[in-house]
């Protein structure tokens, strides 16, 4: 069983990473979601796998699943919804504003040229009082 869970984490991670490196916003968002699944399952599994022993205190039951990772993952799931929503909103805003849903800047900044020192260099030499 551990093998299945571990390999599932691996498959989710691989899919997430691959989509994360795509060039459009939507696949990247899907990639982040897949990575979120992978991370959540991994965190949950760090409490080790237990079958049939939910952490609901019951008389006469001694073995329970580790509740702490569960509590942490629970909030993580909800927060990840919030984060996904923000990222989607940003992606949407960028697309609606520029009609372009590429993730990368269209034109990687050119290697520093003379025009790239906007303030100090080009602000003219008026301060000189040489005669």
């Amino acid at each position: 069983m551990e093998l299945l869970v571990a390999s599932a984490i691996g498959v989710l991670t691989a899919g997430g990473v691959y989509l994360l490196t795509r060039m459009r916003t939507f696949p990247v968002i899907l990639g982040i979601s897949l990575l979120t699944y992978a991370v959540n399952v991994f965190l949950f599994a760090s409490g080790r796998l237990t079958v049939g022993a939910p952490p609901i205190l019951t008389d006469g039951v001694e073995v329970y699943a580790d509740p702490l990772p569960q509590a942490l993952v629970l909030t993580a799931i909800v927060i990840s919804f919030g984060m996904t929503a923000v990222v989607v909103m940003i992606a949407l805003g960028a697309y609606l504003g520029s009609d372009d849903d590429h993730v990368d800047d269209p034109d990687p900044a050119p290697d520093s040229g003379p025009d790239s020192a906007p303030d100090s260099a080009s602000d003219d030499m008026l301060g000189e009082d040489r005669t």
Binding site: T13, L30, F44, G47, M89, V103
Partner: protein
């Protein structure tokens, strides 16, 4: 008055000029004057104690663990400087009131001035060197604002930037030096440091500390090779120049050298560095000053020269040198401030500062002529004026100083510098005031009103009085000198007098004055020679250095951060994998301690579904809708997995979150293209795929190893399991952890969630308020719209099911403490119920029935959770301590009441509010203005069958 108040008054007062701005210029200047006067009077109330030789202190512990305390002390030296700062400050404020033009913002000016004044007073009264450093940096910042006050002038901006760069860098160096000093002594209090001369000078770190501290002093006091910023700072309004360069900013470095004199001076390193820099600066400044045509530039370089003189005197390390330095600080402050003010008057009245365009002003501006001539003669070192006395002392000290085993070097250079100094003073008088009257002044010159000439005239009183009766200043200067020397040396017994007999210093003085006059007579040939001499322009070098730094920084930044997100992601992943590989290959591996659980056919099917969905998602991700469905499948399997592995709470959360996430992504997909085109090359996809596979294998192997081994340390979960019921009153340990054990975490999480939702709302507002709105309104959907926008079956079903959903949510909420459920899950369930209404009946219909704005719901949730936590304060417990009890209200069974329930209610409301606000914001993008709320479930779109139908009326009509 307490020293705290003396330091705090200018800072507090800095709030006032801005407020008084609308009350007029007089009120604005008046309040500034009053504040400064109050601080000065407060300082003077401490004078009796200072003159009695006591050390006035004020002390408040601030960060004692770091050695940073607000400790102030007032001794002779601090008193002297504080008097200069506040006293000359008063004159400057009066002068500035009349100097600034009507269009200049006076409130802003005086605010900066008071900030600067407070920082300066802070420097000279600090007992703690860390506190001193804070004030030191504050002077750099506030002087930046003052120098750049005329923002419209490029010279002003550049000069301010240069001053900030140079003094700021020096300040950074000084921080290092001061920290070393504090480490050597073991205390950051000056009063302690000053007692440890031998300890400091014997330390191997003495030289680095000395160099770093001197870097700070030299940059601040414009010593060679950092002298170049000061003339460029002349772009400031003249009151600022007069203030910064006579009594304050540039004297801060001198002050610190004097302050540190007892512990740092007297070593060969100190002597060579300080005297050397001072000598070079003195000679260089004097020579350049002579050939400057701008009146203020001439004065600026003369300031540089005089600062060099004072530095040199401090560098000699003798008590007499220190006394001469103190005396000259006093004299220089008086005549130089008056000269700057006179230059300002000339500029103000004739509209030019170019000496070549001036001349013959003595009859046109007799008052200014008198003041400027007295001050300039004093600067030249003419007897019966105060400058003569300290210059004589300097020459006498120079005469005794042996530099590099050469007894002639220092006296010769000092005389040479004095000669040029006399020459530029005579030039100032001769070329500006004497000579024939001209008829081509840019403006008709005349003496200004008393508001401008009175402040410099007042400064002439000490110039003349001290010059004629030096014994007046003697006790005070000796008192200050005593506090500079500390225990290191005795105050020299020399008397201050005009006539010392035929001593070498007198001959040197005569040589300087006569030589200066001769030099002025041959000024024109000398100027031609000067102009023909090639010399480096400091500003060009400075700009080149800055430009090189900017280029290097840009190269680095653009190289690392080129805007390609996919590249960052790839680099991050590769780095993480590499680090993990390193850890793996160098670590040790413990044997497996857990026996694997058996794999049944059902589990295998679940696994297959997950893997197939994930792989399908990756393979088919270009079809975005399909990808979304597959992602829903992945989420579903994950939730089932949670159920299987004993995590019912997680499963419920996951599945509800899955629903809202998919709805959210669908809403977004409504606007985005529904296909992802193939853009990357095969090679690139292969590269990304390989990295992804390696990362996946890494994650799998790591997880597998983890899962087969028990934790090395006992898990803290045992505590939670044991105390969940006893301490938290709940049997659902996960929920008790959320609302009780780790309640503070949860509190933070709901706040984050709320902020995320508000951020989405704000972004939507921004989009809808901008040009995107027009584009949204004119958007033609890329797919045909559904005929019946609100299908009847769905409308009916969702409305019927709504109360049931609410009840389920309520139930899940209430039972959460003991059974799977709780605020998070209930919130999500209720959100889904509400979202269904939006989906089925339309945005307008649903929002028309919305009674509470979602912002308010989020706020109420956070507030309730917070108040529940605060409630425990009232029973004397720490924040978020929970309590519970069992109550029985007939006819119900006994049930539990826990404060955690109120907290969970806060969680519930925050989740509902956040989820709904996010989704609502997204749907608002899609909403058309003319959308009307439909009352009826069967609002069939009539244009479906006859697309070109011209504005057919709605069958059922709106409202």
């Amino acid at each position: 008055m307490s020293l705290f108040l003396v330091v705090a008054l200018p800072f507090l007062g800095a709030l006032l000029p801005g407020l008084m701005n609308s009350a007029g210029r007089q009120a604005c200047a008046g309040i500034t004057f009053t504040v400064t006067l109050a601080a000065l009077i407060g300082l003077l109330t401490n004078a009796p104690a200072v003159f009695a030789g006591e050390l006035v202190t004020a002390r408040v512990l601030w960060l004692p663990d770091l050695g940073l305390n607000v400790t102030l002390m007032l001794d002779g030296l601090g008193f002297f400087f504080a008097c200069l700062i506040l006293g000359i400050g008063l004159l400057i404020i009066a002068y500035g009131r009349h100097y600034l033009a009507r269009k200049d913002n006076m409130g802003e000016f005086f605010t900066y001035l008071l900030l600067f004044q407070g920082a300066m007073v802070g420097i000279v009264l600090s007992d703690n060197i860390l506190l001193l450093l804070i004030f030191w940096e504050l002077t750099s910042l506030s002087s930046f604002l003052l120098i750049g006050y005329w923002k419209h002038l490029p010279e002003g901006r550049q000069g301010a930037r240069m001053a900030l760069t140079v003094t700021g860098m020096g300040g950074l160096a000084m921080i290092g030096g001061m920290l070393i000093l504090g480490q050597i002594v073991g205390s950051y209090d000056l009063s302690v440091i000053l007692q440890n001369r031998d300890l400091i000078q014997a330390d191997p770190l003495y030289v680095p500390a000395l160099i770093l501290i001197l870097l700070g002093c030299f940059t601040k006091s414009a010593q060679f090779p950092f002298h170049f910023w000061l003339p460029h700072a002349m772009a400031a309004p003249t009151p600022v120049s007069a203030y910064l360069h006579s009594a304050t900013m540039v004297k801060a470095g001198i002050f610190l050298m004097a302050r540190m004199w007892p512990v740092l001076s007297g070593t060969p390193e100190w002597f060579v560095l300080v005297t050397g820099a001072g000598l070079i600066t003195m000679v260089l400044g004097a020579v350049i000053a002579l050939f400057k045509h701008d009146l203020k530039a001439l004065l600026a370089f003369s300031t540089v020269s005089h600062l060099g003189l004072i530095t040199m005197l401090l560098g000699t390390g003798t008590a007499f040198g220190a006394m001469a330095a103190i005396f000259h600080i006093l004299n220089h402050a008086t005549f130089k401030c008056a000269l700057f003010m006179s230059a300002g008057i000339i500029d103000h009245e004739t509209h030019t500062r170019d000496i070549r365009r001036l001349g013959g002003l003595r009859h046109l501006m007799p008052i200014t002529f008198t003041i400027a001539t007295l001050a300039a003669l004093s600067m030249a070192g003419i007897p019966l004026l105060n400058g003569f006395l300290s210059k004589e002392m300097m020459l006498e000290e120079a005469n005794k100083t042996v530099f590099f085993d050469n007894p002639w070097l220092v006296p010769a250079l000092a005389t040479f510098g004095s000669l040029f100094s006399a020459a530029y003073c005579f030039r100032l008088i001769g070329h500006v005031f004497l000579g024939p009257q001209r008829d081509d002044y840019p403006a008709k010159p005349h003496d200004p009103g008393p508001g401008l000439w009175l402040p410099p005239a007042l400064l002439m009183i000490p110039v003349v009085v001290i010059g004629i009766a030096p014994f007046v200043a003697e006790p005070f200067v000796k008192l200050v000198t005593a506090s500079v020397l500390g225990d290191a040396a005795e105050v020299p017994p020399n008397y201050f007098k005009i006539w010392h007999g035929l001593v070498p210093a007198l001959y040197m003085s005569i040589v300087a004055v006569v030589g200066g006059l001769l030099l002025l007579l041959t000024f024109n040939p000398a100027l031609r020679l000067w102009d023909a001499t090639p010399r480096p322009e400091a500003k060009t070098i400075f700009d080149a250095i800055i430009a090189a730094c900017v280029r290097a920084a840009q190269k680095l930044t653009h190289g690392l951060h080129n805007g390609a997100f996919s590249r960052y992601a790839l680099i991050s992943v590769i780095t993480i994998v590499a680090v993990c590989w390193h850890a793996w290959s160098t670590g040790t591996e413990a044997p497996a301690t857990r026996t694997p659980l058996p794999i049944g056919p059902v589990e295998l099917v679940g696994w297959l579904a997950l893997v197939a969905a994930t792989l399908g998602l990756v393979a088919l991700h270009r079809n975005r809708l399909l990808a979304l469905i597959l992602m829903g499948l992945v989420g579903l399997v994950v939730s089932i997995g949670f159920v299987y592995f004993s995590a019912p709470d997680l499963a419920m959360t996951q599945i509800t979150v899955e629903v809202v996430t998919i709805i959210l992504l669908l809403l977004a997909l409504n606007f985005l293209p529904n296909r992802t085109p193939i853009e990357s090359t095969f090679l690139r996809r292969f590269r990304d795929g390989s990295v992804a596979v390696v990362a996946g294998i890494g994650a799998a192997v790591f997880s597998y190893h983890l899962l087969l081994r028990d934790a090395v340390l006992p898990a803290i979960s045992e505590f939670h399991l044991a105390n969940s019921y006893k301490g938290g009153g709940g049997t659902n340990v996960v929920n008790v952890i959320l609302v009780d054990f780790r309640g503070f975490d949860t509190y933070g999480e709901i706040i984050v969630l709320g902020i995320a939702a508000l951020l989405i709302y704000a972004l939507t507002e921004t989009l809808l308020g901008g040009p995107v709105r027009a584009r949204l309104l004119n958007r033609t959907p890329d797919q045909p719209r559904a005929g019946d926008m609100h299908p009847m079956m769905m409308v009916v079903l969702t409305r019927v099911i709504m109360p049931v959903v609410m009840m389920v949510g309520f139930y899940i909420f209430l039972r959460g403490h003991n059974e799977p459920g709780g605020g998070f899950i209930a919130g999500l369930v209720v959100s889904i119920g509400v979202v269904m209404q939006y989906m089925a009946s339309g945005f307008s219909w649903a929002s028309a029935r919305l009674r509470y704005p979602y912002h308010g719901v989020i706020g109420a949730g956070v507030l309730i959770a917070g108040l529940t936590g605060i409630g425990s304060w009232f029973v004397g417990k720490p924040f978020m301590t929970t309590d519970f009890t069992y109550v029985r209200i007939p006819p119900f069974q006994e049930f539990e009441l826990a404060t955690a329930l109120a907290f969970d209610l806060g969680v519930f409301l925050s989740v509902v509010g956040a989820v709904m606000l996010s989704l609502e914001s997204f749907s608002r993008l899609a909403r058309r203005v003319h959308d009307e709320a439909s009352e009826h479930p069967m609002d069939i779109d009539p244009s479906r069958d006859a697309p070109p139908a011209p504005a057919a009326p709605h069958p059922q009509g709106g409202r």
